[in-house]
């Protein structure tokens, strides 16, 4: 790709004892923020669909549902705003040399993302506080920019991440980025579309299963539900059920993109040490002594999946020196977790669709409800596992084959103090969010903003 792996130093040499802690801080902040992103992407669409149902059918049940979800959306968006702000602070607080060296290349993506965020915040404000105060049509329309901005915002962030994995659009000269072409770097990248769609669809899966799981729990506990709860269960579940099988195909696309452009990451994902012709795929197991032990080997499947040829040669970890290899087991097990959970969700989704097709109703058996409830947290785990695969699998590089993570990190000492503080703060935010969600689930819909709306929930929920 025409880039040398020369030392990249823009600010000064780095000497950080706590590189691992810095990476963990970034990972922690990310794990806290990413489920909220899913809700930011997918929840407005669900809410506006439900509101549209109300306007079309005139059924109170949909209005109450849309309004309750709006309250949940307020809380989750607020937490998403602040956790997202922390991530942008961390670009400088943790990785000043990364930003200083390549800000001119990738920064534009975040600048545009900022405008998406603006649009989201403004129209969400109008939507949330405009219930009953705008005309029905104007209110419904005010959510459209939120849905669109959710997409463009994801696109910009993913554009930056795909650039980090597959960098282009600049030359290095004395440790500085020159010949910078941000549009090529961000949008002329073969990684962008598969990664973007993979994440965007993941947003719908995670938000869909988590919301459906919440109502599934209620159904399992109480044993009955009314039209309100069934609608609240069916709408997000339908989205997740259709998106899950689609996600398998999109996952295959990005995996083959990785196979061609980041062979070392693929080798780590598969625990492949030696460059192998007709490489086997291993399920489960543990990578040690340059091979996967205790796993189930499927002959030649890796070559077939990665290159559509059972005899294709797959590059192994040995192709690069040890210092250029990512940690294998973390990458590999995360990848397996994502694929495993993703497959289960796709099967569950297919079952739901088949059942609906044949029987014309919701499956309400206990095992199905329990499976949907399990898919709530599992979908989040799969999401995080996918990000660990791509981020840890890119190590030791922050910009693949160009800048090492160790060169990007801050020189500030005593990082663990900040790390400890962040853990405490996030724990507090997490507990607060759970408290709010429980409160919102329990409270009757009679609080001032919705005065007059949804007072008949108990009556209808039979």
């Amino acid at each position: 790709m025409g880039l040398s792996a020369a030392t990249v130093i823009s600010l000064a040499p780095t000497h950080q004892h706590y590189l691992l802690e810095a990476r963990q801080m970034q990972a922690l902040s990310f794990m806290v923020h990413i489920p909220l992103v899913c809700f930011g992407v997918a929840f407005p669409a669900m809410v506006v669909y439900t509101e549209w149902l109300y306007l079309r059918t005139g059924r109170e049940v949909y209005r109450r549902l849309a309004q309750r979800w709006t309250k949940v959306m307020v809380a989750l968006f607020a937490v998403g705003v602040i956790t997202g702000t922390i991530l942008s602070f961390e670009m400088g607080l943790l990785w000043p040399n990364f930003t200083a060296t390549f800000g001119s290349v990738f920064g534009l993506g975040f600048a545009i993302e900022g405008f998406s965020f603006f649009t989201e915040a403004i129209f969400l404000g109008i939507y949330i506080y405009g219930w009953n105060r705008l005309s029905p049509r104007a209110h419904l329309l005010s959510a459209i920019p939120v849905v669109l901005a959710g997409f463009t915002g994801s696109m910009m962030v993913i554009a930056v991440n795909s650039w980090m994995n597959h960098p282009s659009g600049f030359r290095l000269h004395n440790g500085r980025a020159v010949d910078v072409h941000p549009l090529t770097a961000l949008f002329g990248n073969s990684y962008l579309w598969p990664e973007l769609l993979h994440m965007y669809v993941a947003g719908y899966i995670v938000a869909g299963f988590l919301v459906a799981a919440a109502y599934g729990v209620g159904r399992l506990r109480r044993g009955t539900w009314g039209r309100y709860e069934r609608a609240a269960f069916a709408i997000p579940l339908t989205i997740a059920a259709i998106a899950s099988p689609v996600q398998v195909v999109l996952g295959d696309w990005i995996a083959r993109e990785v196979a061609t452009t980041q062979p070392v990451k693929l080798a780590a994902m598969e625990g492949l040490y030696r460059t192998t012709r007709g490489a086997d795929e291993h399920l489960l197991g543990w990578y040690t002594d340059r091979q996967v032990k205790y796993g189930i080997a499927i002959p030649r499947l890796l070559s077939l999946l990665a290159f559509h040829d059972p005899n294709a040669t797959v590059k192994g970890l040995e192709t690069v020196p040890a210092r250029d290899r990512p940690p294998v087991n973390i990458t590999r097990l995360s990848f397996q977790a994502m694929v495993g959970i993703g497959t289960l969700m796709a099967l569950l989704g297919a079952y739901f669709l088949w059942f609906r097709w044949r029987r014309g109703r919701l499956p309400e058996s206990r095992w199905f409800l329990a499976a949907v409830v399990a898919c709530g947290p599992l979908s989040y785990i799969a999401l995080v596992a996918g990000w660990i695969t791509t981020e840890v699998g890119r190590q030791p590089w922050v910009v693949y084959n160009v800048m090492r993570t160790a060169q990007a990190v801050t020189n500030v000492p005593e990082l663990p103090i900040g790390y400890g503080t962040l853990i405490v703060v996030y724990a507090g935010v997490g507990l607060s969010t759970l408290w709010v969600l429980r409160r919102l689930a329990r409270a009757p819909m009679q609080s001032p903003p919705e005065a007059g709306a949804g007072t008949t929930r108990a009556a209808e929920a039979t």
Binding site: T57, G92, G114, F117, F118, R133, A234, I239
Partner: protein, 409 residues
């Protein structure tokens, strides 16, 4: 004007907006903290919350705007600033988390007592965040941030006379702006008692902020002479004069209870100080870095300018809409309104939609084949589009509301 200055003008404009909008949000938090117990205190807190809730998120995005444009257009400066000033920036970040958490938690509060605990519990962050950000401005203004990865002093870069006095000015001016805005909001809701209360608060906070600014000039005179000479000559001086005049005018407007114009004049008072700092400091960005040296390559600068202008074309009408609805009393939680009317009659659709379902399945199969087996880009893009179509068609075919209607359990 040189191209390399233009993004900095955007950054300064963003900083002005953040100061007068986001700052007022912190100021509202400070009033929640010090408005006392009892019913009167609860009313103040409730009013501050209702005024800010619809707009605080948009107000905070200005900070994101400032950060992203800075690291795109002046990356070296951004890395240097963020590493040397990591402690105050981290404190500010934690404060922003807590401030935002207030709004999230508030949506779950069911009694006034709970709301009070939430507001006061988190309002402390409204004090520390503007202070911490103010100390960062002080560090830059007194040229204590050099180029390099944490190359400046970790503590004295932001714990020094100039930083501390600017931190205090930031807190007081936020408090002042919030009082003026909240007085105007109360007057618009025809709540004379609340308006009177915030009028007094605005006068006190305004006087304190003005006094702090005067003390600040003395401190800067001895601690940061270069900044002082910039502020007392040329554009810096002009900005300070504007701020001084606007400050007096705002005071007079508040006294005469003309709160609506006072809102804008008070904002101008604070905005002029930010502008004055920029004018006093240029063309120096960091201690040993000029704006020109810090600027990103040409292509990046052009694209940043294009992106910001294009974004602004979307942003400003949207913001205008938000504030018009909000200031027009249409988004406040106390505003009246009628429930959405609908003429549609309830309909049932229990019939399955086999054609749509088959189309969705066909789109899935075709998309799968194109994405997985056609190793050219157009095939994959077309396949991806088919998969998107499959999701939409499938959703319509499943028709979730029809599932909600059936009671077979």
């Amino acid at each position: 004007m040189h191209l390399y200055v233009v993004p900095l003008l955007f950054v300064m404009a963003g900083l002005v907006f953040y100061t007068v909008l986001g700052g007022a949000d912190f100021g509202a938090g400070i009033w929640q903290l010090i408005s006392g117990r009892g019913e009167a205190g609860d009313r103040v807190r409730q009013h501050a919350h209702e005024s800010m809730a619809p707009v605080w998120e948009a107000n905070h995005v200005w900070l994101i705007f400032v950060l992203t444009v800075t690291w795109t257009a002046y990356p070296t400066a951004f890395g240097s600033i963020a590493s040397t000033l990591s402690i105050p920036l981290f404190i500010a970040a934690v404060g922003i988390i807590l401030r935002g958490a207030t709004y999230a938690l508030r949506s779950g509060a069911s009694t006034a007592a709970e709301a009070r605990r939430i507001d006061t519990g988190f309002a402390i962050s409204s004090l520390i965040t503007p202070f911490a950000l103010g100390t960062c401005i002080g560090a830059l203004a007194s040229r204590r941030v050099p180029v390099g990865n944490a190359a400046g002093a970790l503590f004295s870069s932001w714990l020094n006379p100039t930083s501390i006095v600017i931190g205090v000015i930031a807190v007081l001016s936020s408090t002042y702006l919030a009082a003026v805005y909240l007085a105007a909001d109360a007057a618009r809701h025809e709540d004379a008692e609340l308006a009177r209360g915030f009028r007094v608060r605005a006068l006190i906070a305004g006087a304190l902020a003005g006094a702090a600014a005067a003390v600040g000039l003395l401190v800067i005179h001895s601690d940061a002479p270069a900044l002082f000479s910039g502020l007392t000559s040329g554009g810096g001086l002009a900005a300070l004069i504007v701020s001084f005049a606007a400050g007096l005018a705002a005071l007079a407007l508040v006294l005469t209870e003309s709160f609506e114009p006072a809102r804008y004049v008070a904002a101008l008072t604070v905005a002029a100080v930010v502008a004055g700092w920029g004018l006093a400091q240029q063309p120096i960005l960091l201690r040993n870095l000029t704006i020109r040296q810090a600027a990103a390559p040409y292509d990046t600068l052009v694209l940043v300018v294009v992106a910001v202008v294009a974004g602004g074309v979307i942003l400003f009408p949207s913001l205008a809409l938000l504030f018009r609805l909000f200031l027009g009393g249409r988004l406040g939680e106390t505003a009246g309104g009628t429930a959405a009317q609908t003429n549609a009659s309830p309909t049932d659709r229990r019939t399955p939609r086999p054609t749509l379902a088959r189309a969705a399945l066909a789109a899935f199969v075709a998309g799968l084949i194109l994405v997985v087996f056609i190793d050219v880009e157009w095939g994959q893009v077309l396949g991806a589009l088919l998969l998107v179509a499959c999701v939409i068609l499938g959703f319509v075919a499943v028709d979730p509301p029809s599932l909600a209607e059936r009671e077979d359990a």
